[in-house]
Amino acid sequence: MVSVAHLTASLRLVVATMLVCVVGYTLAILGIAQLFPETASGSLIRNDRGQIVGSARIAQNFTSPGYFWPRPSAAGENGYDATAASGSNLSPTSPEVRERGREIVESFGASESSPLPAELAAASGNGLDPHITVAGARYQVARVAGARDVSEDRINRLIDELAYTPGGFLTKTPIVNVLKLNLALDGLDVPGGDGSGEIAG
């Protein structure tokens, strides 16, 4: 049955496949990644002083009324932990989801006449979804405009500039990146600032 020859052949195959499929393959893709330094290192965003303020792909928490708020997060104990990404993994019939929904409805002040867009109450699969729908952004415009003392028109224009449909004709719901939107808001405060964060490696 199993002979020493089987084991030596197996070990020789281990070495060959490790060298080619792990070392060679990884180095090849790393090499190609050098051509795309920004996205390959995580689409990090830096401010004017060169500090990393986050990643364009990763949601961060916003609670102050002058910023747009992201979707709720089940990543880590307090949410938005980018080393412990996680969904709630709760059933849509779970009372815990209802309880979370109720708290969020309260914090947004939603009512029957002005219902909350659903993604603002539903946690994403990893807790780091960087987007909200345009409807979800419009829903927050009055609060943000009030807190910043800026006209709602101005903020709506920012949303229009940053809104996109991720798959063109394949998806009909336009979405917007919360961190980029909030950076653009901060840019409004700076005289002459256009608010666009600079993406750097």
Binding site: L30, I58, S94, V105
Partner: protein, 559 residues
């Protein structure tokens, strides 16, 4: 309604079209008799790498022994790598030692092409463990499946010798998986996926908080995870993570990667046995069953999150719990069906948070486990159903059943049924044991039908070598680690060895002359017979547990 139809049609149609040339290429790459000098040169090289045992053509028994020997070595190597993690290099984030039962479970999981994960990669494993241990297994475990299918097809084409495992494994790794992975990973990098060996980065958020962002060599890992129907994510929440699936385009490319090699395996099988029309019928049967499941999942998932019904929350967007906005509405449930129908197990939305009946569809995928199934092994599973189907059809018309000109006798059917029942026994037996004892009861998120679904899903996933989960389950316990670890290993190798034995037995028989009464396997009658066999077998076996879990949850809670 048009949007999801176009989305699904694009992915399935595009992948099916690409699977045809890929299947042709794979038949060439895996074919030992290729006259082409290119194939001969590769074979010579692989014989030199493997040494003396590569130079003999093997019958089914030595082939299986070689397969098991190499897989045992795979297991031991990675067990050592994970066990020694703190002492090994490429660990920029300083990951510590891993618990023994978790090392066993993870090694069994990746060796068996399952990739069930009772840990989160970004907080448990070093880059060395992820690349040198797990990603390596993602290549060679998938290559093991392709090798086994090639051997089965050679046996069914009437050859007593099924090839040489050590050569086949290298053909599948170097000629099939590696080139496809290089192309797809390059596209993933271009489309914006991270690929870096630098450790986590610290950001200061706009509100002044500190956010540590885990990163890594994701593009390389993710690609072979999808292509090899492995499914184990670099990050805990798998392909929902923005770094593991940044845009709708990476999402669509990943979905294509999930099914393309399982689809191409059907064509490769057809070409090696010399019956491409037969492969066409099998391909169509798989496609029909897949479409039924996708339609079900996408439809049931349009119902909004049930517990939001009485709150002032808009209900026009479907159930968004556990889903990413950048993938669109149809992506989550479509991915859920593709990943479970192929034994892949990566997730593009959280299955635990699907609506109850939408969550049933992934379970059906794992119970049937052959539409298109895992790389190589999906077609092997379908072969078992084919044996049963031709046997039943033969009995119905009172003829000795035949498959590919060999008479199928009771002995072969008994082995085929045995292999199918192994799968059912692990799922139903395991679920019964854990649902009835504290081993399972204390680990579920909610008591009642949803908790039952979580246990049922975990055993279905382990036995189908899938790897996805209803992740609300607290599956990081010693009992879960050991039980699912054993199920994954047994449910991997028994349904590879028994079909190869059947093929060996069939090959030893003389070819039966084709007569007017021979039941064809190349027409739609056979297709319908095959679907009926699968549906009846699946329904009789699994309907009771479906009723106790997802159906009961739907009837109790959904309005």
């Amino acid at each position: 309604m048009l949007e999801p139809v176009v989305f699904v049609a694009l992915i399935l149609g595009g992948t099916a079209a690409l699977s045809w040339p890929l299947g042709r290429y794979m038949a060439w790459a895996m074919s030992p008799q290729a006259d082409a000098s290119g194939a001969r040169a590769w074979t010579d090289l692989f014989c030199r790498i493997g040494g003396p045992p590569t130079r003999t053509a093997q019958t089914w028994k030595p082939y299986c022994v070689s397969l098991l020997a190499f897989n045992a070595v795979m297991f031991l190597v990675v067990f050592a790598i994970l066990g020694l993690q703190p002492y090994l290099p490429l660990n920029p984030d300083g990951m510590g030692a891993v618990d023994e039962s978790l090392v066993f479970n993870t090694t069994a999981s990746f060796t068996s092409n399952t990739n069930l994960q009772h840990y989160s990669g970004e907080s448990t494993l070093s880059y060395f463990s992820q690349l040198g241990g797990l990603m390596w297994l993602q290549f060679v475990s998938a290559a093991t499946g392709i090798a086994a299918l090639a051997a089965l097809a050679r046996g069914l084409s009437g050859q007593g010798k099924m090839g040489n495992f050590f050569v086949d494994l290298q053909r599948a790794s170097f000629l099939v998986l590696l080139p496809v992975a290089l192309v797809v990973a390059t596209l993933m990098v271009i489309l914006g996926m991270p690929m870096t060996l630098e450790g986590a980065v610290v950001a200061t958020t706009l509100e002044g908080a500190e956010q540590v962002i885990a990163r890594g060599p994701v593009a390389a890992f993710l690609t072979i995870k999808q292509l090899g129907t492995n499914g184990g994510g670099f990050f805990g929440p798998n392909a929902t993570h923005p770094f593991e699936n940044p845009t709708l385009w990476t999402n669509m490319l990943a979905m294509l990667s999930i099914i393309i090699i399982p689809m191409a395996c059907v064509w490769m099988f057809g070409r090696i046995v010399g019956r491409v029309r037969h492969a066409g019928i099998v391909f169509a049967v798989m496609l029909v069953l897949l479409l039924v499941k996708i339609t079900g999942a996408v439809t049931f998932e349009t119902a909004p999150t049930q517990v939001f019904a009485e709150l002032p929350i808009a209900g026009d967007t479907g159930n968004l719990e556990g889903k990413e906005l950048r993938f669109g509405a149809a992506s989550g449930p479509t991915w859920a069906v593709l990943t479970t129908s192929t034994s892949n197990g990566s997730v593009g939305a959280m299955h635990d948070s699907l609506n109850p009946l939408a969550g049933l569809m992934p379970m059906v995928g794992m119970w049937l486990n052959e539409t298109y199934g895992g790389v190589g092994v999906g077609m092997i599973n379908m072969f078992l159903y084919i044996v049963v189907a031709v046997f039943i059809a033969g009995m119905m018309v009172g003829r000795t059943p035949e498959y590919l000109e060999r008479k199928v006798s009771a002995r072969e059917v008994r082995l085929a049924m045995g292999a199918l029942l192994v799968h059912a026994t692990f799922i139903l037996g395991g679920t019964a044991l854990f649902a009835a004892t504290s081993m399972g009861q204390t680990t579920v998120q909610d008591a009642g039908p949803h908790g039952f679904s979580e246990i049922l899903y975990e055993f279905s996933s382990a036995s189908a070598n899938n790897g996805s989960g209803f992740e609300g389950l607290g599956d990081g316990t010693v009992a879960w680690n050991i039980a699912t670890g054993l199920v994954m290993l047994l449910a991997r190798y028994i349904p590879i060895i028994l079909p190869l034995a059947i093929a060996g037995m069939l090959a030893a028989k003389p070819a039966a002359a084709k007569t007017a009464g021979t039941l064809g396997v190349e027409d739609s009658t056979f297709g319908v017979m095959l679907i009926a066999t699968i549906v009846v077998f699946g329904a009789l076996t699994f309907f009771p547990v479906a009723a106790l879990g997802p159906v009961a949850e739907h009837l109790t809670y959904m309005q």
